[in-house]
Symmetry: C2
Subunit: 549 residues, 2 copies
């Protein structure tokens, strides 16, 4: 037993050393220039302390749209841009431990090739992402890199992938420069980003709060502007939770809108609910830029599961019909999140938008059902891989250790139940037409992403009931920042009747001082395949809220 225990530590150690041998020492900031331990908020640390030169600061503070335009008009070379982000990502990692695979040399070579292409083609670019560094969540396979998913047995198994995930191929075809992959929880199945290989990723808004998961590495890196645009994945909240904890814009699309083939999955072959991937950014317009570029490149030629549905321009009604949900009746959100909801509701009302209450239907059962799907193989795949090297399961994943590998007849019953529940949610959505002033159904729902403005580390309590129902419904969903926790305003609730034990714990755990500075973001939910509408309504919200870090 001891031997096996050693094995997982040994493998993890070897993998870390291998990664660490690749740092460019010129880009590493010396310890004395790093923030003191007591500094919790590091989002402006790199800029304030001028850890990069002026050009690097200018480049890394630009949006993806600005970067591609400045390369196109030859203000910057692809190489300059790539070097700047490699440098900044290295420091971001020093601050918050968000990277897994790094491949700066390949990135530099790609950037040089792109510059040469531009020289050879009178300034012409190979695609909309020409020269744009894009960071990727660890689950994307990249030729020549490994994909560990935070599972020790995957450190060298295989040591390198031979093929890119299809989204990765597409990004390359459109001119992107790939340079880093980012940290995830074990098998990507926890709401916080930690594992036995890379450790815990920290939240740059408040290093004592969780970065969230599973796309926590992405969100942490992007918040520090170590990446202008990154791609996360979401099967129960994994794009939305970390994006909300880091106050970022993000899009969780419907399955079949963006290519997913050829990524490494924590639960390969699971189809009762499908993982999707989508963009995360500090800049809302970059999400649209990304989506429009991908969808207009006929991604259905890359992945047979993608629907032939190009980018569609959407015209919004002047007055939106929005349903809001502040409390799902199972876990009451903590005070800052409720304040965030209040801010958004009053701003929307002030503009004459029609706000009604969302009366949730089936949310809780959908959130338990999705867990049954995740573990319907009895956690067999995850257990097999972790046991092989003696890797212990984190408490968040205990249900992987005590679930049953059910028979297909039982799975069919669960899937049938899900189809009925989802149909009822659709009917519920359409029935809002009886409650709105113009007699039309709602355009969207706005609600919390989690009960937290960044939870204290280890205290998420695994409740993803605000996000996971919309994975089963496959609705297009985005996140948007509203404000930050202010310890002087967001006071704890008085004791109340609690819905259940976890509700009580979360309420009691809430500590304004501890949460100060945490991200207060919400999610916007539109119907299936309405990604364009999500992004348009986010623009409306952004203008109203005018959030700045």
């Amino acid at each position: 037993m001891t031997v096996i225990k050693e094995k997982y530590k040994e493998l993890a150690n070897k993998k870390r050393l291998e990664r660490d041998s690749k740092w460019n020492l010129d880009w590493i900031t010396s310890d004395e220039k790093l923030p003191a331990k007591e500094i919790k908020d590091v989002i402006n640390y790199i800029d304030s302390n001028k850890l990069l030169n002026e050009l690097e600061l200018e480049i890394t503070n630009s949006t993806a749209i600005e970067i591609t335009q400045n390369i196109k008009n030859q203000k910057w070379t692809s190489l300059q841009v790539t070097l700047a982000f490699c440098h900044r990502a290295s420091i971001a990692h020093q601050l918050c431990n968000n990277l897994t695979e790094i491949f700066f040399d390949e990135a530099i070579q790609t950037a040089k090739n792109l510059d040469q292409y531009q020289l050879d083609n009178n300034g012409g670019t190979i695609g909309p992402f020409h020269g744009l560094p894009i960071s990727l969540k660890d689950n994307f396979n990249i030729k020549g890199q490994s994909t560990t998913l935070g599972m020790v047995n995957f450190c060298f198994n295989p040591p390198k992938f031979e093929q890119d995930s299809v989204l990765v191929s597409l990004l390359r075809d459109l001119g992107a420069v790939l340079y880093v992959k980012t940290n995830v929880p074990v098998a990507m199945m926890m709401p916080e980003t930690t594992n036995h290989i890379w450790g815990t990723t920290l939240n740059p808004m408040n290093k004592l709060l969780s970065a969230g998961g599973s796309s926590g590495g992405e969100a942490s890196l992007i918040k520090l502007k170590g990446s202008p645009l990154g791609i996360g994945s979401d099967i129960g909240g994994s794009i939305r939770i970390p994006s909300s904890f880091q106050n970022l814009y993000s899009l969780k699309p419907s399955f079949g809108r963006f290519p997913t083939f050829g990524s490494r999955s924590g639960l390969p072959g699971l189809e009762s609910v499908n993982s999707v991937n989508g963009p995360i950014s500090n800049n809302l317009r970059d999400l649209k830029f990304y989506c429009e570029s991908i969808l207009n490149s006929e991604p259905w030629n890359y992945d047979p599961k993608v629907v032939e549905l190009p980018w569609r321009n959407v015209e919004l009604p002047k007055k939106l019909n929005i349903a809001v949900l502040i409390d799902d009746g199972h876990i009451k959100p903590t005070p800052p999140i409720r304040r965030g909801m209040d801010i958004v509701i009053s701003k929307l009302k002030s503009q004459g938008h029609d706000i009604i209450e969302w009366e949730p239907i089936n949310h809780y059962r959908l959130s338990t059902l999705i867990t049954e799907f995740f573990t319907s193989d009895g956690g067999k795949h995850v257990l097999k891989e972790t046991l092989k090297v003696g890797e212990p399961l984190f408490p968040y994943m205990e249900n992987y250790g005590n679930s049953k590998n059910i028979q297909v007849s039982k799975l069919w019953k669960l899937q049938d139940e899900r189809s009925i529940l989802v149909k009822q949610v659709l009917d519920n959505w359409l029935s809002t037409s009886t409650k709105t002033q113009n007699g039309k159904p709602i355009d969207a729902i706005i609600m919390p992403v989690t009960p937290f403005a960044g939870n204290p580390i280890d205290k998420f309590y695994n409740y993803v009931g605000y996000t996971s129902p919309f994975n089963l419904c496959d609705f297009a969903t985005g996140t948007f920042p509203v404000t930050r926790v202010d310890s002087s305003i967001d006071l704890p609730d008085a004791p109340r009747q609690y819905y259940n034990e976890i509700d009580c714990k979360i309420s009691n755990d809430y500590n304004p001082e501890e949460s100060h500075g945490g991200g207060v973001s919400l999610q916007l939910i539109c119907r299936r395949f309405q990604e364009e509408k999500v992004l348009e309504i986010l623009e409306v919200l952004k203008k109203l809220i005018d959030y700045k870090d």
Copy 2:
């Protein structure tokens, strides 16, 4: 045991009596006017023998488009149209045993209501199908009717459904008149239409040949013009096989294009491959009329699994790139089907279309994999329902009796394999660009639907390898008639090297005299969600082939 055996016969008998009490005796043709036993081809029997009056003959020989136009311009009332089809369907059933539930009284009431609506609204109609009788395969639930799926235990279980399937609701909203449901094989999982309740449906082109399955009742009824337009369903070939055996036009769409929610399934909860429904008709333009009407009525508001993809007009290139497959290397089609392929290929070539060979990839494994999915619950659902009443399994369904209710971990492996195989098919499709003259990939594939021009009853040998791979690929597929078997031309093959035992049996079973008059139809395969393209290319083929019964 004997008691149980009796039970299934008793229940089936009771159900048949109940149905038979609903016939309108005025619409029943007396025995002496029915065709003599030796008459095999009955497709023109009703018209030649004037079993209907002139108006009824005129109405029932009209297309769905003509019918709706003539109701709209008040040449005919909805009632006249409904009465004509109720009458003709009754005779069609006498000829070929194709109906299950009949509800003429409700249909007549609906038609009267529609006429009243038109009177009250200055001739206005309630939707594109105003007054159009549409027949439905038995699996669609209809309020007030039962859904037996050819399974005795479903005869009175429930005796009546309380709710329409969502497609049924939509059809009603668009003005359709529903009047009959049509026969299917047990659980819809056999390629021939027979069961212990309703018996065997016959093929009007040649009553000694199989009508095919599982939408055999639909195809048989439509061929006899007992319905202008019917809806079948397809999970492995169930629209295409009977449509091809009856020389009809049909469309098997991709999953998510048309609503499927709320139908009764033979394998409820199965999602590794999804059943779809689509139209069958004597008239190609009626398919387009149907699809355009449904897709423009926002069916995604009826079923959350429908994609927000309205009808799209398609412009075809002047010269099509078509891949053809005559023989899949596992079962060689019988001589009339190969002649059908030759006819189509030479006509296409004569018009300058670019014809290349389809080099099939993964077809055979996909066809075995789909069977593994069908029986992945160990046939448990089907067995449970049949055993309850002592109903024996037909030989075609033996694998439902000897399959294993596998664990989800194994299912995930199979699903993962399927995703990879389907991706390879897509890549194979796109790689045809290296073989075409214009360097573009193929627009479509043309190939047989089955090896048969209607198989001798009981001799299909359960090989659906020409159709089922395209269910797993989820490609949009149509069928079109080419010719009929001519015993003087379609001579048996000389003995040859056979691929396997079934290939040998099928070759030896083929008897030109026996197959004479059988339908020679083929399928046209476009990519996923390319239903519009399928219908456009079918128009091109129809003009070239100019098939008439």
